[in-house]
């Protein structure tokens, strides 16, 4: 397989670039470009028809120099060890750039959850935990929800862990339902974190917060960002939104609340009263102060990057810009808040859940929002400072901040 078609090879290449700029010594590079611990195991899953299917499962604890690992558990038919390694590496860098005292982890099961009944899902969740329980813990490794693992799945895992441990252990799993110690503020955390970054970018760059903004993608993150942008920035005019059905545009503004209602009632943004149609491509090229790509990967490429006219591009989706486009945007002065930073709000609330669980004391929604604001603001500012100092794109600056913090922790521990 070509190196760059493998997610972990991509993660390693990104690390190598940052390590090269930072001039990390060879031993440090070797340590940080590989996971510290990997678990590969099987789960015999009893199916409803009485037969047994053996599932292949994984957990990677990428690096715990800065604190216990935390990261998702994915249930996906396409899950591979390399995907898990890559996601664990990215979690490590993300927690470091956010300056959160956690390391990165990730795990998964190669399965198609769409084919599993509810009872089978519960048995799979408990089976995964029975194998991994001895390697997990609030101070070792904290699993969190990811693709196809819902708060209910996290609840089953937490219950299985506590059954094995024999005592209450609310901080061992993140993303639990609030009734079992889940944190307030999880639902809109990704969007909220992105909007906090945008607010900081507007302040730093002198961009008018009352200007126009557009949102590509109107799922959970897109809907929340449409609602939160005016609330957090104290202004802003939503002029365009799109989803898979197409887009809607009104230069005088779209009412975010009414648009969310329309989407939930009709299943699409198209046909929203008082709007005109716009394609996804045209939306990306609108002259707006802030563009939120919140839909899918690689929508900004070298073929359209020179037509992006937004002042700030806040990447709520994973990987909406290609590396070539990222360079072009940087050269043209479009301020990119990379996905790495922009969509990290959910992770931070996962961390808050661990903190609250350890203390068995749960915060109000207001405290969660204030703490999230502080973390995102500090993270944005530290990345921005390096971006200016070294004249590198924001994405690379974020990697530099993250890798240098990891290297510092490793050094202080005397590992290298």
């Amino acid at each position: 397989m070509n190196e760059q078609s493998n997610a972990f090879a991509v993660a390693q290449a990104q690390f190598d670039e940052a390590a090269g700029i930072l001039g990390l010594e060879p031993a440090m590079r070797e340590l940080l470009r590989w996971p510290r611990r990997e678990y590969r195991f099987t789960i015999p899953l009893r199916l409803d028809d009485g037969s047994t299917q053996v599932m292949h499962a994984y957990r990677v604890q990428y690096n715990d120099a800065r604190g216990p690992c935390m990261g998702g558990v994915r249930w996906h038919p396409d899950e591979t060890m390399d995907t898990v390694r890559a996601l664990a590496a990215w979690m490590t860098w993300k927690f470091a750039v956010l300056d959160i005292p956690l390391g990165g982890g990730n795990g998964g099961v190669t399965c198609n959850p769409k084919k599993l009944s509810i009872a089978e899902k519960e048995r799979l969740a408990r089976g995964w935990m029975r194998v991994m329980a001895r390697e997990l813990g609030q101070d070792r490794d904290i699993p969190a929800p990811d693709v196809y693992t819902t708060p209910q799945v996290m609840a089953w895992m937490a219950d299985e862990f506590e059954t094995i441990a024999g005592y209450s252990h609310p901080a061992v799993i993140a993303g639990k339902p609030p009734a079992l110690g889940g944190s307030q503020g999880r639902t809109d955390a990704t969007a909220r974190g992105g909007v906090y970054c945008v607010r900081e970018a507007c302040r730093t760059l002198g961009v008018d917060p009352n200007g126009a903004f557009a949102v590509q993608g109107f799922g959970n993150a897109g809907q929340h960002v449409a609602l939160l942008h005016p609330e957090i920035l104290g202004g802003g005019c939503l002029v365009a939104v799109s989803d898979t059905s197409g887009g809607v545009y009104n230069p005088n503004g779209l009412d975010p609340k009414a648009l969310v209602d329309h989407k939930l009632r009709t299943g699409q943004v198209s046909g929203f009263p008082g709007s005109e149609p716009i394609t996804n491509e045209d939306l990306l090229e609108l002259e707006v102060n802030v563009l939120y790509p919140a839909a899918m990967e690689n929508v900004i490429t070298q073929s359209n990057a020179d037509r992006i006219r937004a002042r700030i591009c806040c990447e709520l989706a994973d990987g909406p810009s290609t590396p070539e486009a990222d360079t072009l945007l940087h050269v043209r002065g479009v301020h990119v808040i990379p996905d790495f930073l922009a969509n990290a709000g959910g992770m931070i609330v996962g961390y808050f859940e661990q903190v609250q669980g350890k203390n068995n004391y749960f915060w109000t929604l207001d405290i969660v929002h204030r703490q999230l604001d502080r973390r995102m603001t500090e993270a944005y500012q530290s990345v921005y400072r390096l971006h200016k100092e070294k004249s590198v794109p924001m994405r690379l600056a974020a990697y530099l901040v993250a890798v240098s913090r990891m290297a510092e922790a490793v050094k202080l521990r005397g590992w290298v």
């Binding site: 991509v10 591979t80 995907t83 084919k115 609340k257 009632r265 299943g267 690689n298 490429t301 290609t322």
Partner: protein, 437 residues
């Protein structure tokens, strides 16, 4: 009215031969069988003949539920699904939404009614019916309204049978989001067992697979659910032996999803596995976006789409990470289960977007390299003229990966696809005019 044994078989054959219009006779046949079905916990089910099923709710007239059922299920997306148990699709309101491409009827495998192709409630919401058709009582004109609006004027009993809530909440009000799932109807009434049994008996009597349209009136909490048969007809079967002539390009056996058909296409898009394999992750996403632009360039003319690995995967190392909107104009979706010099992935057969595949009536097939009954003539697509640059100027750099092949440019008439849902076989060939091939 009582019909037993031979007379029921003859009556069924009479209905089938009558041009599918004799729903009164069909009601008479099924009424007898209905007595054998155990009642549900929510309401019993009764066969009820009426010329025009439905009721007026304000100015809107519509049946509570319209259904289509088939004795053979062509949508075997899970190993739990027994194709011989049959399938049904349900919509709220008039039957015209049953086969609409722009909405999502509830798809029910009759041996596994609780299995859904979605993994969590937000996905269920995305793939639930949004619009319903009805007749305006005053004007007699067909109209469309939103399901949630129409349900607001219905009593709780109907809402409970047809909708569900889960862990998805309105971002403004925080209220649970309600989706049309028919969960109560499937769980608490005899509908599933009755439909399965009636299809089996009708197919036995007819001596061939059958399809049935019906309507339901849900009544009030204490009343029976009224089941009205609308139309019985033989299931569509492809001509046997297959009439495909010309150069056979693709064959698949045991790995198809979708109804039987014999269809012709002007063009095929072939993604070369050998050229796709070396692409970077970033370029694989870029290719997916390019297919979206190609789909728009093709307009409404359907095509055959052939490519390596799992269509719609979120892991580009295992297939092409398209969104459904980027390929929804394809009539046939072929998955080549081979990845050049790497691994052979498990086939997806469209399950990354099953509801869309069903709504758009797309046939999915997987071709497993080296397996008996499976063949993909990649050389043909690699060697024929590539129309990509003509259709999308500026995209020449993708020409080695994306092959847009038009039948006429290859000296053919059309690409012809024959598929048999029962045998789960598919054959695709380029068809030439008389005297060729």
């Amino acid at each position: 009215m009582s019909l037993q044994g031979h007379s029921a078989n003859q009556a069924t054959k009479d209905v089938l031969s009558s041009g599918a219009a004799d729903s009164k006779a069909l009601a008479a046949i099924t009424e007898q069988w209905c007595a054998d079905i155990p009642p549900g916990t929510a309401a019993p089910l009764k066969v009820h003949y009426t010329e025009r099923p439905g009721a007026a709710h304000g100015r809107r007239f519509y049946p509570d539920v319209s259904g289509w059922a088939a004795s053979h299920n062509p949508y075997v997306w899970s190993e739990y699904i027994d194709p011989s148990a049959g399938v049904m699709r349900l919509v709220f309101g008039a039957a015209s939404k049953l086969h609409a491409r722009d909405d999502y009827p509830r798809l029910v495998a009759l041996n596994a009614p609780n299995r859904r192709p979605e993994a969590y409630f937000e996905e269920i919401c995305t793939h639930s019916q949004r619009r319903a058709d009805f007749t305006d009582v005053k004007t007699g004109a067909p109209e469309t309204g939103y399901v949630l609006d129409l349900l607001q004027e219905r009593d709780t009993h109907v809402v409970e049978l047809l909708t569900s809530t889960g862990d998805a909440y309105h971002p403004v009000t925080g209220e649970p989001i309600r989706a049309l799932t028919c969960e109560g109807l499937l769980r608490d009434t005899p509908l599933v067992g009755f439909t399965r049994e009636i299809l089996r008996r009708l197919a036995d009597a007819a001596g061939r697979p059958v399809e049935l349209h019906f309507a339901l009136q849900l009544g009030d909490r204490d009343g029976a659910i009224l089941w009205t048969p609308r139309e019985l007809r033989p299931a569509e079967t492809p001509p046997e032996p297959h009439p495909v002539q010309g150069r056979i390009l693709l064959t698949s056996s045991g790995f198809t999803l979708g109804r039987s058909r014999l269809a012709r296409f002007e063009r095929a898009v072939y993604i070369s596995p050998a050229q796709y394999s070396p692409l970077s992750l970033s370029n694989r996403y870029e290719l997916a976006r390019l297919l979206g632009r190609l789909r728009r360039a093709f307009g409404d003319s359907p095509w055959i789409l052939i490519g390596p690995g799992r269509w719609g995967t979120s892991s580009p190392e295992l297939g092409i990470p398209v969104r459904f909107a980027e390929i929804n104009g394809a009539g046939i979706l072929i998955e080549l289960a081979e990845m050049h010099d790497t691994l052979t992935p498990e086939v997806a057969l469209g399950t990354h977007f099953l509801n869309d595949i069903v709504s758009h009536d797309i046939l999915c097939a997987a071709i497993l390299s080296g397996r008996e009954g499976h063949r993909a003539d990649g050389t043909y697509f690699e060697e024929m003229p590539n129309e990509l640059a003509r259709i999308m100027p500026g995209m020449e750099s993708w020409a080695s990966v994306v092959r847009v092949v038009e039948a006429r440019a290859c000296g053919g008439e059309a690409f012809v696809v024959w598929a048999d849902a029962v045998q789960r076989r598919m054959i695709c060939a380029i068809e030439f005019g008389r005297g060729r091939g």
